[in-house]
């Protein structure tokens, strides 16, 4: 990959990588660090990384960097679901579903969270997500199913707290 191609990668993927990192880390500065780190790694490896593979390489680096960050800040990341539910119901009686989902995803285990984000944000296939995260295709599907089910249950719980059935 030459310099022009690298710069094109920045144009094409910086925003998307930032969205991914921000959604997983829920911290703007940390997300920016992840983006910088990922592109720095791609630049270092540009002689061996083809332009066509650059996106997958970026996300692979970002995924691992995010996991490191998440583990480093485990206390922050492992938000308690019950606290989250209380916060949401106190905040607004009519929460925006997408906003709630983006906050709720922070309560999921990291593999579920990252797999869902790679799927929903980037439209990666399960095989590609497996390549990035090091999981098998079946494990990716299981993580996504469990993650989505957890999100569904959170939405239901908030709904019940706001408007409890008689």
């Amino acid at each position: 990959m030459n310099t022009e191609q690298y710069n094109k990668c920045v144009e094409l993927y910086a925003d998307r990588l930032f969205r991914f990192a921000k959604a997983t880390l829920r911290n703007r500065e940390q997300a920016e660090d992840v983006v910088q780190e990922s592109f720095a790694r791609v630049w270092e490896k540009r002689s061996t990384v083809d332009f066509d593979k650059a996106k997958a390489y970026l996300y692979t680096v970002a995924h691992h960097t995010i996991i490191d960050e998440q583990r480093q800040y485990q206390r922050i990341m492992s938000a308690d679901v019950s606290d989250f539910l209380i916060e949401q119901t106190v905040k607004s009686p009519y929460p925006d579903v997408n906003e709630v989902l983006h906050k709720a995803i922070g309560t999921l285990p990291e593999m579920q969270r990252n797999a869902i984000l790679l799927r929903d944000y980037e439209g990666y296939s399960y095989q590609e997500i497996g390549d990035i995260t090091g999981m098998s295709e079946s494990q990716v599907k299981i993580n996504i199913f469990r993650g989505r089910t957890a999100l569904k249950n959170i939405l239901k719980s908030i709904d019940n707290l706001i408007d409890p059935e008689p």
Partner: protein, 278 residues
């Protein structure tokens, strides 16, 4: 299809996404019911995340400068270098109105000059007298005799008309590597910093002495004459985007000297001849 307790959730996801045929869906349902699980609940629609409209704002900082230099930039650089050499070696005489040379470059709003502060921050090689003041210089030769009645203001170096090169962001960056003269010689204090992340910084480090050896040193001392201050004050004002600002300023100044120099030369020549006749 081998459904078991370890993988049935993967098949449930496939089912939700419509990736199972009728037979496979039936097998899955039978398995789920056999496990005593709630088929309806497990096959409820699952939420998906919408993509937020977030933008990474520091893309320019991530980008690298390319080595590819447009032809016009190469020509402009050569022309400008020649023009600057002309300025360096143009015969000067105390009887001549020295301001005239730069009088073609009329002042605009002046910037604050921090001569003392700046002089103390740059690496020094020599000290020479300038308006009875000791000034440290990187200049290799012909520095001690340098005299002027008045130190020209930074603003004087700005041209009459603004002829800013209309360059897109990317074009500016492409030109950047081809500007070792203004960036190094005008501003080598910053150049080290500016090029520190350049992948081939060593090339520039090696190139710099050779340029100085060629005698293109005027700009190096130009900082004390005001020109460098102009660049540096611009840099101080735009630390967040040093490289881009440097390039734009340097290119603009470069281009303008090149543009104005012929007129200045002619006018000065006329005055010189008039003086001779007198």
């Amino acid at each position: 299809m081998n459904i078991n307790t370890d993988n049935y959730e993967a098949y449930l996801l496939d089912y939700q996404e419509g990736n199972l045929n009728e037979s496979e869906a039936r097998q899955l349902k039978e398995f789920v019911l056999a496990q005593g699980l709630d088929w309806d609940e497990l096959t409820e629609e699952l939420p998906k995340l919408g993509v937020p409209n977030l933008v990474y704002e520091n893309k320019e900082a991530l980008k690298k400068r390319t080595k590819k230099v447009p032809l016009f930039a190469q020509i402009a650089s050569i022309a400008a270098a020649l023009a600057l050499l002309f300025v360096v070696f143009w015969k000067q005489d105390d009887t001549m109105p020295k301001q005239e040379l730069i009088a073609t470059l009329k002042p605009i709003a002046a910037h604050t000059l921090e001569t003392e502060t700046y002089a103390s921050t740059v690496p020094s090689k020599k000290t020479y007298q300038y308006n009875n003041q000791s000034v440290k210089s990187n200049r290799v030769e012909k520095t001690e005799t340098m005299e002027r009645e008045n130190m020209p203001l930074v603003a004087e170096m700005q041209p009459i008309a603004t002829k800013t090169l209309e360059l897109s962001g990317s074009a500016v960056r492409e030109i950047q590597p081809n500007l070792p003269l203004p960036l190094y010689l005008l501003n080598d204090y910053y150049a080290y910093m500016d090029y520190s992340d350049y992948d081939d910084a060593s090339e520039y480090s090696e190139e710099k002495p050779s340029l100085i050896d060629k005698g293109i040193v005027w700009l190096s001392d130009g900082r004390y004459n005001g020109f460098g201050h102009f660049i540096n004050s611009a840099l101080h004002r735009a630390k967040q985007d040093v490289m881009e600002t440097t390039t734009k300023v340097a290119m603009t100044a470069y281009y303008k000297i090149d543009y104005e120099i012929e007129e200045a030369k002619e006018r000065w020549q006329e005055k010189w001849e008039q003086k001779e006749e007198e």
